[in-house]
């Protein structure tokens, strides 16, 4: 009963991902509705980040490990790529997305979260088999 990905510490992970899903969706929604033409690339990535967080929240909450691992990898790649782009080419990212500056506007949680997520997912898998 306690080996599931959505119980114990996994419950906290779902809570944090849920909050990020909410924050990223709201932020992307405002950006796209109000000023999409200002920075289409950044705001599209913002929306993409929101979708990744929503998928992750649902996958983790429902215990869909395979989907959660895939989404965690995409999230990690996203925060690294967008973080690097926002530092190298700040012109393309005039307004922050969740992943800008490696998530510096969110206490770097977006950078740490996928690593914790992957560790947790692989940890429960190993415990489940052993």
């Amino acid at each position: 009963m306690t080996t599931g990905v959505n119980t114990g510490p996994g419950r906290v992970l779902v809570a944090v991902y849920g909050i990020f899903a909410l924050a990223a969706s709201a932020r992307a929604g405002v950006q796209i509705a109000a000023k999409f033409s200002e920075a289409p690339l950044a705001y599209s990535l913002s929306a993409f980040a929101a979708v990744v967080y929503i998928v992750l929240t649902v996958a983790l909450a429902r215990g869909n490990e395979r989907l959660a691992v895939a989404a965690c990898l995409i999230e990690l790649a996203g925060v690294l790529v967008v973080g690097t782009l926002s530092v190298v080419d700040s012109q393309a990212f005039p307004h922050a997305t969740v992943w800008s500056g490696y998530g510096s506007g969110y206490l770097f949680i977006p950078l740490v979260l996928p690593v914790i997520g992957l560790l947790w997912l692989f940890g429960t898998r190993r415990r489940g088999q052993g």
Partner: protein, 133 residues
């Protein structure tokens, strides 16, 4: 906690003063709840009546805050964001309660700690948005 620099506006100054004073208490209550929940989780206890009562109180305070602030959203530059934060603050605690209560271990209060901390931070962001010219 209420280290918000007040603008020169006179008419809205008193209103902002009242709002930030109230919100200061809301932030304090939310952070206190976060600390109590975190301590409970560290002590390896499930959620008890204290955390439940605290969460209900914080939620009531957040609803009052939203009722006060919502009609004033027109005065804020980042209107959509402001309203989004107000809705977020009142939605998160019940969602956390629903999700955290099912877990009768230390991880139940840990969920509440995350939610209470988030509600406190979001209230702080509300104050900043309100203060923005």
């Amino acid at each position: 906690m209420s280290a918000v620099a007040h603008g020169p506006a006179l008419a809205t100054g008193t209103l902002l003063g009242m709002f930030s004073a109230y919100s200061g208490w809301v932030i304090g209550a939310a952070l206190l709840l976060a600390v109590v929940s975190l301590v409970t989780a560290i002590r390896n206890r499930p959620m008890g009546a204290l955390i439940l009562a605290g969460l209900v109180l914080v939620e009531l305070a957040l609803v009052v805050q939203a009722v006060i602030a919502l009609p004033k959203a027109g005065q804020v530059t980042e209107q959509a964001t402001f309203v989004g934060y107000l809705i977020g603050t009142i939605v998160i605690p019940p969602a956390a309660l629903w999700w955290g209560r099912a877990e009768r271990t230390r991880w139940g209060p840990a969920v509440i700690a995350v939610a209470a901390f988030t509600a406190g931070v979001m209230t702080g962001r509300l104050l900043q948005l309100w203060d923005m010219p």
